[in-house]
């Protein structure tokens, strides 16, 4: 394993030192592993807290700032944060208007955020949660852990963040966050596995012409192994899965996301096919992101996330945002 690290044990801490040095707009509590907006807490503003395992950079630390998150709690690599950390972030961003937890639907994340919400409540902070579960590769059912949360986390953070910035109350911010999630769908494809520093070798082995369809964001294998094929055909598999679950139509927010090791060039090639697919369905790529936004360390592959916009959601998407990884309007 060749990685740009100092020690396997200090990967998250060393990352946070770099984030602190790179972004003066953030305040990084390295001991408790929390990335705060420098001006948090903002009196009267609903605080937004998200978090999850590390290794998905820029998620979530890259989305802390004006118009988006107030704090992010990175856990160890692919391991969600612990309750203490989340409580510390929650109380630290509470400006008296309550705090929204944005949680990706994984057993661990849900359990740890639930515990933290309870403990924060004990400390007098009103907490509501938005559960993100956009991944159509996983079939939802009463008897499973449900669908995974992936790319839509970013959409929820941006749009709920914009509403919170405008001074809306907690229930409203939670409502819009849930609406974004309900209107969002994702599907991911891996060309290679990723290597966690702790494991030191790829999480799975793929042949030279094999890919994984329906992957999550933790280097886990997908729903099926399949032969590699042209970008156009891979996009069709992903978009068909999304369209089957929630038919595409109208103004759509679309993200073509790299998994960390994919050249940007290839993401643009994928985006061209995604845009063509949407057009075929009579939908339009009204808002677009192409790049590494929710990654899995050094994995090669891509995911597509769509969100069926309303006027309100489009307006909130367009509202100014100023974070390390997403910035416009300021």
């Amino acid at each position: 394993m060749k990685k740009l690290i100092n020690d396997v044990g200090s990967v998250v801490t060393d990352t946070l030192r770099g984030v602190a040095a790179a972004h003066p707009s953030l305040r990084v509590d390295i001991e408790n592993k929390i990335i705060f907006r420098r001006d948090a807490p903002r009196p009267g503003k609903v605080g937004l807290v998200s978090g999850g395992g590390s290794g998905h950079e820029p998620l979530h630390g890259g989305y802390v700032g004006y118009g988006m998150l107030d704090a992010a709690c990175p856990g160890e690599i692919f391991t969600c944060p612990v309750p203490d950390q989340i409580v510390e972030a929650t109380t630290g961003v509470n400006g008296g208007a309550g705090v929204l937890h944005i949680v990706k639907n994984y057993t661990g994340d849900v359990l740890n955020f639930e515990m933290a919400a309870e403990l924060s409540g004990d400390e007098g902070v009103e907490v509501m949660g938005v559960l993100v579960d956009d991944d159509v590769a996983v079939r939802d059912s009463l008897y499973t852990a449900g669908r995974r949360g992936t790319g839509a986390a970013l959409f929820v953070e941006k749009i709920a963040g914009a509403l919170a910035e405008s001074g809306a109350p907690l229930a409203e911010v939670a409502r819009v966050g849930r609406e974004v999630n309900a209107r969002s769908r994702s599907f991911g494809v891996a060309l290679t596995a990723c290597t966690t520093p702790a494991a030191g070798m790829p999480t799975f082995e793929l042949g030279g012409a094999e890919i994984e369809l329906g992957i999550g964001i933790h280097g886990e294998p997908g729903r099926a192994r399949a032969p590699h094929r042209k970008a156009r055909e891979l996009v069709r598999v992903a978009m068909d899965a999304i369209d089957d679950d929630l038919p595409l139509s109208g103004e759509t927010l679309v993200m073509v996301n790299g998994m960390g090791g994919t050249p940007l060039m290839e993401l643009y090639i994928v985006f061209a096919e995604v845009a063509a697919y949407l057009e075929e369905k009579g939908a339009t790529a009204a808002r677009r992101l192409v790049g590494d936004y929710v990654t899995s360390l050094d994995m090669q592959g891509f995911s597509v996330t769509t969100c069926a916009l309303t006027d309100e959601l489009a307006r909130l998407w367009d509202a100014p945002v100023e974070t390390p990884a997403l910035r416009w309007g300021r």
Binding site: T79, C80, P81, V82, Y106, L111, R148, F204, P221, R223
Partner: protein
């Protein structure tokens, strides 16, 4: 079993988890996210440190401290689940200074109830429950028959082992492995495998406490 025994149990778990770290991670790499070994190693190392820093006065306090530490340090699914299990066990033991096997079995039962409540897993969902539940049944049975703790622990360890092995053909219905659907079959559940280490450490703890002669 006294307070010292429970501290020793935690130490033995720490040792076993540390030694089994890579295997647990490999199992988790196959159907999860390759962190179960690292998670528990980090967690139980912290448990050992916490126990050394603030030695508790009762068996129940040992388990509550262990559980709380796991919740604080592990993250992931296994942190809150194992953490809750130990906390519930500790609460069930109350202030008792000495714990017979039967009481330990009921405490484990309370811990398992906590896991079920939190995670919603049923038997056969391919989780830690599938190793823990049969281990507790074996322990309770031996306790009822009035045997030596060592025998009860051996029976519990064997049952946990068997339960874990039995997760291999199952299709996961809870946790991260469930995302794989049918592809989760053919692999042992990492949480069930770590439960084998935890239950197995009861026996090594007992052996260390009462070294056999000749």
């Amino acid at each position: 079993m006294d307070t010292r025994f429970f501290v020793t149990w935690m130490e033995e778990i720490t040792t076993a988890v540390h030694a089994g770290r890579d295997r647990l991670t490999r199992l988790d790499a196959a159907i999860g996210d390759a962190d179960h070994g690292a998670n528990l190693d980090r967690g139980f190392t912290a448990v050992a440190e916490a126990l050394a820093a603030r030695p508790p006065g009762t068996p129940g306090a040992v388990l509550v401290l262990a559980g709380t530490t796991l919740i604080r340090k592990v993250g992931g699914a296994s942190g809150p689940l194992y953490g809750t299990a130990f906390r519930e066990m500790g609460r069930a033991l109350g202030e008792a200074p000495d714990v017979p096997v039967a009481a330990l079995a009921s405490a484990l039962e309370a811990g398992l109830a906590g896991v079920r409540r939190l995670g919603g897993a049923e038997d056969g969902d391919k989780t830690m429950v599938d190793a823990l539940a049969p281990a507790i049944r074996a322990l309770a049975r031996c306790a009822g028959e009035g045997g030596e703790p060592e025998e009860a622990f051996a029976a519990a360890a064997a049952a946990a082992e068997e339960g874990a092995k039995a997760t291999v053909p199952l299709v996961a219905r809870k946790g991260r492995a469930s995302y794989l659907g049918p592809r989760s079959a053919g692999h042992e559940d990492p949480g069930a495998a770590s439960t084998v280490l935890i239950v197995g450490a009861l026996g090594t703890a007992a052996a260390r406490r009462r070294p056999r002669t000749g």
